[in-house]
Subunit: 342 residues, 4 copies
Amino acid sequence: MTHKIAILGASGYTGAELVRLIAGHPNMEIAALAADRKAGMQMGEVFPFLRHLDLPALCRIEEIDFDGIDLCFCALPHKTSQDVISTLPQTVKIVDLSADFRLRDPADYEKWYGNPHTATDIQREAVYGLTEFYRDQIRNARLVAGTGCNAATGQFALRPLIGAGVIDIDDIVIDMKCAVSGAGRSLKENLLHAELSEGYNAYALGGTHRHLGEFDQEFSAIAGRPVQVQFTPHLLPANRGILATTYVTGDAQEIYDTLAAVYADEPFIIVLPFGSAPSTHDVRGSNFCHVGVVADRRKGRAIVITALDNLNKGSSGQALQNANLMLGEEETTGLMGAPLFP
Amino acid sequence: MTHKIAILGASGYTGAELVRLIAGHPNMEIAALAADRKAGMQMGEVFPFLRHLDLPALCRIEEIDFDGIDLCFCALPHKTSQDVISTLPQTVKIVDLSADFRLRDPADYEKWYGNPHTATDIQREAVYGLTEFYRDQIRNARLVAGTGCNAATGQFALRPLIGAGVIDIDDIVIDMKCAVSGAGRSLKENLLHAELSEGYNAYALGGTHRHLGEFDQEFSAIAGRPVQVQFTPHLLPANRGILATTYVTGDAQEIYDTLAAVYADEPFIIVLPFGSAPSTHDVRGSNFCHVGVVADRRKGRAIVITALDNLNKGSSGQALQNANLMLGEEETTGLMGAPLFP
Amino acid sequence: MTHKIAILGASGYTGAELVRLIAGHPNMEIAALAADRKAGMQMGEVFPFLRHLDLPALCRIEEIDFDGIDLCFCALPHKTSQDVISTLPQTVKIVDLSADFRLRDPADYEKWYGNPHTATDIQREAVYGLTEFYRDQIRNARLVAGTGCNAATGQFALRPLIGAGVIDIDDIVIDMKCAVSGAGRSLKENLLHAELSEGYNAYALGGTHRHLGEFDQEFSAIAGRPVQVQFTPHLLPANRGILATTYVTGDAQEIYDTLAAVYADEPFIIVLPFGSAPSTHDVRGSNFCHVGVVADRRKGRAIVITALDNLNKGSSGQALQNANLMLGEEETTGLMGAPLFP
Amino acid sequence: MTHKIAILGASGYTGAELVRLIAGHPNMEIAALAADRKAGMQMGEVFPFLRHLDLPALCRIEEIDFDGIDLCFCALPHKTSQDVISTLPQTVKIVDLSADFRLRDPADYEKWYGNPHTATDIQREAVYGLTEFYRDQIRNARLVAGTGCNAATGQFALRPLIGAGVIDIDDIVIDMKCAVSGAGRSLKENLLHAELSEGYNAYALGGTHRHLGEFDQEFSAIAGRPVQVQFTPHLLPANRGILATTYVTGDAQEIYDTLAAVYADEPFIIVLPFGSAPSTHDVRGSNFCHVGVVADRRKGRAIVITALDNLNKGSSGQALQNANLMLGEEETTGLMGAPLFP
């Protein structure tokens, strides 16, 4: 059985990545592609790397007949996303890649994103889309809220450790490095090649990055009390990849064993041998996440490193993984492609 | 039916690319992986990006039992390749990725590669592996000689034009730009990141690049008389991709029509709209080749631009395409993956 | 004696490069920096790499008192430049980095730039700023028109050869590769890191690039009859550097001897040993231009390769070299800094 | 007065950077350049970017007549360095760029570098080369031991804070990112462009990086008791630059005030406005170090970020700064060149 798929916001990087992935999915068919500002164009004109595919032309969202659509991916900016999703028929399953439905408390949403939430009723039915930890709820959800890419990378390191109580939850530092595609196809000076290539800097310093809202929500829920991590994102002079170097207090071996046990049967989370360091190179273009654990020379201190592809496992790959569950497909279908190296 | 595959020289980039591609092929199984200097290691140790795959350990070539092997990819250095292939049983089909069997005349081989050919009898049965132009012979071949990556890129621009007689064959300039992975995983100073990134230079100047041997052989055969193109390769500060800017004398529209007609039904060769320029970005990680034609302001002069991924369409993808034909599979199986962008 | 300098358009890359160079000049003082949209800001805020310098704040052009200014660099967009320069007092010497005064015939200007020239009287006094070939006129000029960066790179290869009659002027192909800073600090999708890094493509194909106007003007003047070269620019995934691979018909040794003789006493033009290829790496951040000549295997064909830094020798370094001459300084003052490698 | 300079190990990146810098120094003359494996070659052949300079040919160390040499830079591998320096005449001042004389306790040296120290008597007279903190001793030293590039970057953040007692010295995390030239011009697989570009990973994990020996020595000396920081280096896909993100416990404003006061009169250390983040882009190719301080959202936690050029301020620029002091020159001579951006 072939599921009919719509993608809203198809002219951005996550939209294009969805098309790339779904093109290799045996049981999905792209029935509609919307991108308001590029409506009327062919996808292959907007993204020449997709020229070989036979795809519907880009259209405006209101031109889509959602009657035949089984599932809709929304790769729209936050705020726009909630407005659009409010108008979609109840019969359509939705995987939202924006930030609009990630935070369960509308007050948290307003705090981090600056605008009041206007679809709080829909928010209530949204399931947080970190597949490995919300699998059962996702299977039955109508609306799944894809996680932030940094948020996913940090949670793969820390959720099992907070849950098992093997680290000091008041002493967590996440030093994050994210490639430039994480900022989307937006025209900003700091995203120009000449400004970024051969350079390196931190940004959103001191606890101001919006993905902290997800860390706070999720880690506090696991711990049963407020948890606030320290989180500093850096802009990596590369196109794809996130790497989180997470500094924790705890026994490194116990930390390793905890992660190895939790991820033992996960198809996409690969725990490297103890003492090994992951590289973004080794997950690029794939839905895999590599996890490494190292003991520091100071007893009781450990480093956990997680690496994934921000556009794939951190966004569109995760979205497809969730869509598979929502549509009754094998979770891994269309997602087992090996990374691209070099 | 599953074909059993061996890969010799699995620890290089083309070997790893073969593994990546075959991992997604429904009817092939990797039965043996040889890499003499890394024998005993797991592929995931040599190439961590392949850790998720269940693969045989690397072994020495002489440890392989070729009885059960249907097809063997040889990704060995030239010279070594002919020595090894001489020892393989006749029952095994072979796709060679080295330069050893590309040149039909042993004297040409010795001229370009410096050493006498020691397997001239086998050479006689080798078929040149540019699939789109040797398809029928490849189907029936026991030994297919994969082309040089530059050689493939240039031929996709020029073969149809020389064949149709629409350009002046004595006035052809190929300005080639090849990414660094084309030089393999070899430890050379000029391949270091610090020497290459942010820089750009030509090399193998004045007609000394070995892939000229292939151009001479193929273009002369098509034209029925000696053809010598001018060819200058440059080293591109990027990991994958070749782009050939080919300057020819002829009518641009006629050139375009010729290429469009020849490639109309080719699954992997995409001729862009007249006047468009391909980008290596748009074919990276894929088996596709983009072709563009532009008229120069000077009447009777045209530019043909071809872009492909040197490790994929220029090497391992081409090899798999040929293997498919040799094994009676659909030519495109395992090769329709979309490029990775950005 | 210290010359007082104004820079108009200081918030772009060429403006910043001028500041960087002049900061090391013993006899120049930056008296005014204009950048309309950033007026009121400190240069160190717009370009943090200049934070260590004590500079005047950015202002609007009309706020500058030109009475005390000896020389003004105009790093403004074309069209704006002619409007502004028309208003400057006759007492101020001007080095213009825009395209506005490069083409002597206003009809040529309109043909290549699309708008009619509105300062044709000033145009008449402008001297073309390719220092090595217009040195004496530049010394006495009030207004010098800096060349296009591609135009400079191509001319260093070809002017002496056309002048000496050692090549066939009807058979010239310039395959140009220019780094991204050549496009300025402008917000365009194709200049984003994610769109450019790891990719490569030609643009302005078929004789449509505006710098062709300069080639036509200069080469025709030298030859005494119309000369039209074929010119294809490519966008290099690097921040600085231009490399021109120029294909000519002629005797390679004679070509080499001609270039070596013409540039023998030039402080910035370095002719490499015969057969050597320049690299953009080796001139980055400097005012040097490397020149290489190679014989093709086909008798009577040669390749000339020139490499320089587009922002420095191709733009701001050239501008300072010209300013030195106009102000009676040593031509090389402030410009002998070695390239930055790696 | 012109000082005669020798450089041993001139064929590596730090040697070439020394030549680049000294070429712009008005009172130094390069009298000898040694590089054993390249002896007999011209520097411009080994590093074409230095072709414009008139330099002595490379020779073997034993060929140098040290009688006329005022100061010798040793840019040799550790271990070799102590062997060579033992043989130099007492009349020659020495700036060593290797690790051989950084650690005052020979037992520490052996612990971190694996081999016993064979020049412990010379070690006793060596002064640690972090100019800003050892200025007076350096002025009078015969032998100055240049710091590790990571070690310098971390110390610029932490020395004043440990000294002033404004942070918890038992809770310091340094997340370091270093560009590839920090590893030198060595042929290692992980330094190849194809292995590094577009990738990112940590290395020397868990407190095994040798520069920790310097942190331990220096921080403990300041604190008057053992201090062990946590330090994780990462390999940056860029050619130059180090950035340290240092996580500390303390009052951010007090931290900022402390750093601002200590560095107020330093010519090369620039403290950015409170809350600003430095970028490696903004110091590339220069002897400047940018320092930023940010308050974390969690009260009592702060982030200090320091950025410098590993080859310049982190190595050869620092060496020249020290040489200036040792020779009675102005500390800043030859070092005020602006960074190269973009």
